[in-house]
């Protein structure tokens, strides 16, 4: 066996994350209850270190290592960066939150780091087996995180529901992978593409396998009609976990899905198996419309902010699917851009929600935000910024993202999809602005709100600056997104 192909430098960030997670677990018995916060600091530091290690890699020259399993290219590079930032911020805002909820234990941060390593494996994977492993590492960590507040019945429900439905999805994924392997004799993306190209018309086994793979991804990404778990899980989980789950696993799921679609399936240019391609597009087209519309319609009915943001996250997955359906270089670039902006605005909004909530996750209904514009002007203004961006109003990243997504869709002839998309945006304006109505147009209820901790405020400020920057001067981020999709072409 040739061991030269094992490039440990390429997986250095993952090694750092996992070692740091284990270190936290080792340290846990020796850390007094009052000083659990330092465990969180270790996690923040580890994410920072992983990002640092990543920055030494040269994604300009894409190459595969570990026998084609792990891909080092700009696509995995940008996603890994994003995951490290998400994990760092999630750990940072979780420290004061966990203290207040008295669930501040080291395992929380260790699980966060494990989840992060799973996510980065998903983005860098060039093989169905590694993709599956990444998904499982991520999922098992988040199952536990969702139920981290053991004393809370809703958190338990959330965790159990996530676990049961997640396992169901995993079964689909695994069976799909098995069928693909049975039909092509390989699990490697590049090899699958080559084999299916040679085979000509795809076999029924392959089609069923790919369909099951899509169902599995549909569950993980909360695409309609596989979305039913998401609102309950997001609502029941501790808000700090919700913030992580809404952004991290979703971005990772999309990264993996894009890799499978673009790198494992024959391209339309090669036009070896056009049938396969078209059927993917039709299925995803329907999924995009359903996901946008159902997500937005149900979100208008919510009065719990966590639940509202959960449905809005479903809707945003629908917008991202529009880009995947369009299936062009411009559309994948828009997808990457949108995922980054989506992360910033959701993480920012949920960080504010979790800081303003009270012990036991109370004060998360829209009515509780009445008059916040007066009593808490700064958080109210920042939350409004994130909401405006989520609604896709210009001068925010949310607008630029949607602009490029719909532009790509129209260029590829999906005008109908773009029209459904913008009409959905109108719907979303209703519920995002409804929260602003409560903040600015109603009188305060009189309950005092604690000031937001400085570290959390810093994290929110980073998100806010990103949203504005991506909205007013998006060129840099667009160029970055352009570079990141080069290996896909």
């Amino acid at each position: 066996m040739n061991l030269d192909n094992l490039d440990y430098f390429a997986i250095l960030p993952q090694i750092i994350l996992v070692l740091a997670g284990m270190f936290i677990l080792l340290l846990e018995p020796f850390t007094p209850r009052a000083r659990k916060g330092q465990q969180g600091q270790i996690a923040v530091f580890a994410s920072f270190l992983a990002a640092f290690a990543l920055s030494f890699q040269h994604p300009g020259t894409p190459h595969a290592t570990f026998y084609g399993m792990f891909l080092v290219d700009s696509f995995s590079w940008i996603f890994q960066w994003l995951f490290f930032v998400i994990t760092g911020i999630s750990a940072l805002v979780a420290i004061p939150f966990n203290e207040r909820e008295s669930i501040n234990r080291g395992e929380y941060y260790a699980l966060l780091l494990f989840a992060c390593s799973g996510m980065s494996l998903m983005a860098a994977s060039g093989d169905l087996i590694l993709t599956f492993l990444g998904i499982e590492i991520l999922s098992i960590a988040t199952y536990i995180l969702a139920g981290f507040k053991r004393s809370d019945a809703r958190a338990n429900e959330s965790s159990l529901k996530y676990f049961l439905l997640g396992s169901f999805a995993t079964a689909f994924l695994l069976y799909g992978i098995a069928l693909i392997y049975g039909s092509t004799g390989t699990t490697n993306y590049a090899a699958i593409r080559a084999v299916t190209g040679l085979q000509g018309t795809p076999s029924l086994t392959l089609m069923i396998g790919l369909g099951m793979l899509l169902v599995g991804f549909g569950f993980k990404l909360a695409m309609v009609p596989f979305h039913a778990w998401a609102p309950d899980v997001y609502e029941g989980a501790p808000t700090a976990v919700t913030a992580f789950m809404i952004v991290g696993p979703k971005a990772a799921g999309f990264a993996a899905l894009i890799r499978v679609l673009v790198q494992a399936l024959p391209t339309p240019d090669a036009s070896l198996v056009p049938v396969l391609k078209n059927e993917w597009a039709t299925i995803l087209w329907a999924a995009a419309i359903l996901t946008m519309t159902v997500g937005n319609i149900v979100a208008t009915l919510q009065s719990n902010i966590k639940r509202m943001l959960a449905y809005s996250a479903i809707a945003h997955a629908g917008y991202i699917l529009v880009g995947i359906v369009a299936n062009s270089a411009a559309s994948y670039r828009a997808v990457i851009f949108y995922i980054i902006v989506y992360t910033a605005m959701n993480l920012g909004a949920l960080s504010i929600v979790l800081s303003l909530s009270r012990q036991g996750d109370r004060r998360v209904n829209v009515e509780d935000y009445a008059g916040m514009g007066k009593s808490q002007p700064l958080p109210a203004a920042l939350l409004s910024l994130f909401l405006i961006s989520l609604a896709g109003i210009p001068l925010t990243g949310g607008f630029v993202g949607k602009f490029y997504l719909f532009s790509a869709a129209i260029h590829e002839g999906y005008v109908g999809l773009a029209i459904v998309g913008v009409l959905n945006s109108v719907l979303s304006v209703y519920y995002y602005f409804r929260l602003m109505v409560f903040m600015y147009m109603k009188e305060p209820q009189g309950t005092e709100i604690d000031a937001i901790p400085l570290t959390t405020l810093a994290a929110i400020a980073i998100a806010a600056i990103s949203v504005l920057w991506a909205g007013i001067f998006p060129t840099w981020l667009l160029n970055l997104a352009s570079r990141s999709i080069l290996p896909l072409q």
Binding site: I388, I393, F403, F406, I419, V422, S425, Y430, F433, Y440
Partner: protein, 523 residues
């Protein structure tokens, strides 16, 4: 004196001032108000050179500015004005200081955010009128909604939340479909630029291949956005709510400037970009405009609330503007010129009406016509000024409203005498409801004892109304400088419409003989 990048300066000065307002302590309300007022006055003064240095002979864009914005020039920061946008920018910079001055006493809660909203709003409005990149235009168009939403929703009347949400949802539906149309146009143009002048030029030269069906739907998408804004019947239902619930300053800006963004859009985008579709749709739009004129007037007549009456009168008056735009006279510019002038007139007279109603509300905390009566006895100055504005609104010769209305009617008559007759009767209705309202509010005996204690206008309020009255008189007596500066630009729009080949566009051609006869007669 030539100021470099004067358009950027005029556009962004209010926004910069709004950001500076953040530095002011919340309590020093006097300083905040003065600073905001000063900033808006400075903006107005800076916008004056635009008028004086404007070259009337040039129908193209002037004071052009160009800078790459997104992706090295794919989306540009391209500003410029022609004879159409010039006056709307002046109207904006003219009305904003007055609106700010009018809220001196009326706004006592959250003064700082209020002034910031007003200033951001001003930047948005000016930007809409001078943006020459479709995306930049769209950005201003949308961004402007946010401060207006807050103005209505935070400082408005009792049903303010309902009005604010309705306002934003209505306008968003239209504008987002326009965004799809903009993107479609961008890809038709080869996906290289959103520049308005480039796309308009390519369309006019025929170097963009466009099917009539495509042109029709693009036209409709743009039209929907603008028709909601104007508002054209039957898209007007947001307007009475928004106008009535908005604070006085908000109503002034809404009626004075925001509605004109719709008619501006028609002139700037719908006609020059999609002339064939415009010609085909014109008769239907004219009918909708006529319905709006008559319906608005009839509904205004039965309103018990002064503000609602003025709001419905806007539906009627803006219908007239749309009618003039789509008159498409074969020779002569009467329709377009009248519409353009009437946009300004409506901004002035309705703005003034809202200011006056706001002043009366501050005194009596009521806007119901029934709560007044015989006010002229106690408030002679208020009554006199109100009368002048009323007369201007109904188009009395010698005041501004007359010139615009007559031009529109002449233009409409040239293309369709029946339409002109209906429009004229709508204007008679206008005189009825305005004068009847005036009679019930100001004349007769004092029916309510509280009204005896009403104070007459103070110096600030007189100062506020004086500039508007002067401009009204100026346009009424000597409208030539205004008409001359808009002529060349409107000529270009008209040529573009006439040059377009319209499938099934025989609507005007059938009457061409009558047109030339009449045009000859008027000359």
């Amino acid at each position: 004196m030539h100021i470099k990048n004067i358009l950027s300066l005029v556009t962004y000065l209010p926004a910069a001032a709004a950001v500076l307002l953040l530095l002011f302590p919340r309590r020093s309300e006097g300083a905040i108000k003065s600073f905001a007022f000063l900033a808006s006055v400075t903006t107005f003064l800076l916008s004056l050179p635009l008028f004086f240095q404007f070259d009337a002979a040039n129908g193209g864009m002037q004071f052009e500015e160009w800078a790459p914005w997104i992706e090295g020039g794919l989306i540009k920061h391209h500003l410029g004005i022609d004879g159409i946008s010039l006056f709307l920018i002046l109207l904006t910079t003219f009305l904003t200081p007055l609106a700010i001055l009018s809220s001196w006493r009326a706004v006592s809660q959250r003064v700082k955010p209020f002034m910031m909203c007003m200033l951001f709003l001003e930047t948005g409005m000016i930007g809409v009128f001078c943006a020459l990149d479709l995306v930049l235009f769209y950005v201003f168009w949308e961004v402007m909604l946010i401060p207006m939403y807050f103005l209505i929703g935070v400082w408005g009347g009792e049903r303010r939340v309902y009005a604010a949400v309705k306002f934003i949802l209505y306008t968003m539906v239209g504008s987002l479909l326009m965004l799809v149309a903009i993107l479609y146009l961008f890809h038709l143009n080869g996906g290289t630029s959103f520049d308005y002048l480039e796309i308009a030029g390519n369309l006019a030269r025929g170097s963009i291949r466009i099917q009539f069906g495509e042109e029709f739907w693009l036209f409709m998408a743009f039209l929907l956005a603008f028709a909601i804004k104007v508002p054209l019947f039957p898209f007007h239902t947001w307007l009475p709510d928004a106008h009535v619930e908005a604070p006085t300053a908000g109503s002034v800006i809404l009626a004075g400037v925001l509605l004109k963004m719709g008619t501006y859009g028609l002139l700037r985008f719908c006609l020059p970009l999609f002339p064939s579709a415009a010609v085909v749709v014109a008769p239907y739009l004219s009918v909708l405009a006529l319905v709006g004129i008559v319906y608005g007037a009839l509904v205004a007549m039965v309103q018990p609330d002064l503000k609602k009456l003025v709001a419905y009168s806007s539906v009627s008056h803006m219908g007239l503007v749309v009618l003039g735009i789509f008159a498409f006279t074969q020779s002569g510019l009467q329709g377009l010129q009248g519409s353009m002038l009437q946009m300004l007139n409506h901004g002035l007279s309705t703005g003034a009406l809202f200011l006056l109603v706001g002043m009366m509300y501050e005194r009596r905390h009521s806007r119901l016509i029934a709560d007044f009566g015989g006010v002229a006895h106690v408030n002679p100055v208020l009554a006199a000024l109100f009368l002048v504005v009323t007369l201007s609104s109904i188009g009395l010769p010698g005041l501004n409203g007359f010139v615009g209305e007559v031009l529109i009617l002449v233009g409409t008559f040239l293309s369709s005498p029946v339409f002109a007759a209906i429009a004229a009767s709508g204007m008679i209705l206008g005189a009825v409801y305005m004068l009847w309202m005036y009679q019930r509010v100001f004349l007769g005996t004092i029916s309510h004892e509280e009204n005896r204690k009403m104070k007459d206008l103070c110096a600030r309020e007189k100062l506020l109304l004086l500039p508007i009255l002067l401009v009204m008189l100026w346009i009424g007596v000597y409208s030539a400088p205004f008409l001359r500066k808009m002529e060349a630009s409107l000529q270009l729009v008209q040529q573009r419409v006439h040059n377009a080949h319209a499938p099934g566009g025989g609507y005007r051609l059938g009457q061409s003989r009558a047109n030339t006869d009449l045009a000859g007669a008027t000359k």
